[in-house]
């Protein structure tokens, strides 16, 4: 049985990874799961300087999901390189660093800083709905997706994954734009912009008013978008959006994802990643699947 997948030239021992922003740099979750079992750890977004994030409350529960507006709080690239990369290097897993910025220059500064670090891939966050500048602003029209991808690629030594927003009319236009700009892979989907109002307090549930919806509630949207993108471009796709079980992971792979990430599920089931790795192995055994890569995009 072969669970390895090839993501833009990087071989992962299995297709299971963590969605950015839900796993930190793995330290807290290493108490609950063996990080050596994961295909890759995708870190929380890293900017050029520390970002304080948004005011609280930053999260709210919704039916089958949650809204968040953390606002990409992070310690910046210097602390990240000094503390988090050495931590992750202790484990036999791939390191994918999520990069955030407020301008093209910001993204490129981080990408350059990471060029000679032992990082396997870069994931460029052009889809965060919770920051005023940067983030989603780059991810909602094809011309800017292509331009930021091209700019980042000029500075990057590692393969570049563009993380796309679902808050668009046509996901295939964004996928094609990233491909045209030279992206090596795509991640989708980021969260869907939402809102919750507390009827008793008669106020917004989040200080930021809007937040990104995640969790099982958004899974069908994510599966549809992964399917559409996989059929529109030749790039490998990392599928995410509400993955909480191995069945969910297989569904994304059948839809066209080469790898999958669990996000919100980590918050309520800290060992979900490894449970999914084990579930995929059992599924392959049951259906006599020799290579997991054989079933990528199998459902047409």
């Amino acid at each position: 049985m072969n669970t390895t997948v090839n993501l833009a030239g990087i071989e992962l021992k299995n297709p299971v990874m963590t969605a950015s922003g839900t796993f930190g740099s793995g330290e807290e979750y290493s108490e609950f799961v063996d990080l050596n079992r994961l295909g890759a750890v995708v870190t929380k977004g890293v900017a050029n300087v520390p970002w304080p994030g948004n005011p609280t409350p930053r999260i709210a529960e919704t039916h089958g999901g949650m809204l968040n507006a953390i606002g990409l709080q992070n310690p910046g690239m210097e602390v990240f390189c000094a503390r988090d990369i050495p931590f992750l290097k202790q484990f036999d897993t791939k390191i994918i660093v999520n990069v955030c910025g407020k301008s093209a220059e910001d993204y490129c500064e981080v990408v350059e800083r990471l060029a000679d670090e032992p990082v396997d891939m870069l994931e460029i966050n052009i889809s965060c709905p919770n920051v005023k500048e940067g983030g989603i602003a780059f991810g909602q029209n094809p011309a800017s997706v292509e331009a930021i991808t091209r700019e980042v690629k000029k500075h990057a030594k590692q393969p570049v994954i563009m993380k796309l927003s679902p808050n668009v009319t046509d996901i295939t236009a964004m996928a094609k734009a990233a491909e045209a700009g030279g992206a090596d892979a795509l991640s989708l989907i980021n969260t869907i912009t939402g809102m919750k109002i507390d009827v008793h307090r008669q106020k917004f549930a989040l200080a930021n008013r809007t937040g990104g919806l995640s969790g099982p509630a958004i899974k069908p949207i994510a599966v549809r978008m992964v399917y559409q993108a996989a059929n529109a471009v030749r790039l490998p796709i990392i599928g995410m959006g509400g993955i909480a079980t191995w069945e969910d992971a297989i569904e994304f792979i059948l839809a066209g994802a080469t790898a999958v990430s669990t996000g919100t599920a980590n918050f309520y089931n800290p060992s979900v990643t490894v449970e999914i790795v084990e579930g995929i192995e059992k599924y392959m055994e049951k259906y006599h699947i020799e290579n997991i890569s054989d079933i990528i995009g199998m459902v047409k």
Binding site: R58, M66, F267
Partner: protein, 267 residues
Amino acid sequence: MSGRRKESAVIISQEGIALDIYSMWIHTEKIAESAVPGQFISMYTKDGSKLLPRPISLCEIDRQKSGIRVVYRVTGTGTGTEQFAKLLSGDTIDILGPLGNGFPLDVTENTGKNTKDCRAMLIGGGIGVPPMLELAKQLNTEKIMVMGYRDQQFLRTEFQKQGSLYIATEDGSAGTKGNVMDAIEGNGLSADIIYACGPAPMLHAIKRYAEEKSIVCYISMEEKMACGIGTCLACVCQSKEIDGHSHVHNKRVCKDGPVFLSTEVEI
């Protein structure tokens, strides 16, 4: 912070102790062994539409019997806490813990006074009352306790066994009419160290009071949480010092707290 784990724990007993206030004893495999006063657990519903854990403070810890007690408020119909209230002895509940730092028990280190010369004031307000009980049991010094309630005085007899108890009720049905600050001032209470848990306006008033009187004061904070272990960065509070995680001024209530020195945080 080691020893955190997720368990499918068995409920030993559950009872309603006041309107919408429930007391649940839970048998844990390991969580009770390492738990300390002021820590909390994440409690999970069995309802797939309610994903996030409910953080609930520990009211009592029985290490010998591997038990923990939580006293919590049902926050409305259709809520996760309402589902917890329906559980019976023998039912299981998924819990994650023990979480957070807990109250520092060494009064000498904090005040420079011997335990026999030191007086601690324990202040609880509303659903911030329960965690003060295990603290009262483990704090090895003179204690005065000030508990503020809307009306129903749950856990009152249990606190009376631990030292002098002063009550404040909003409706004046018992003790001082008003809040905990009214009870402290009305009874002329003073202390060498303060521990407090309760709603933000109460903590704000206590922080100001303690700082005016130069009393060492620890407060237990609350904020909306998702992971409970310091990853998601939802439950931050504004801290005076640069935090260790993101190097900004955002300490994590779930991991760096929930207990902070009053001078350390903005409320």
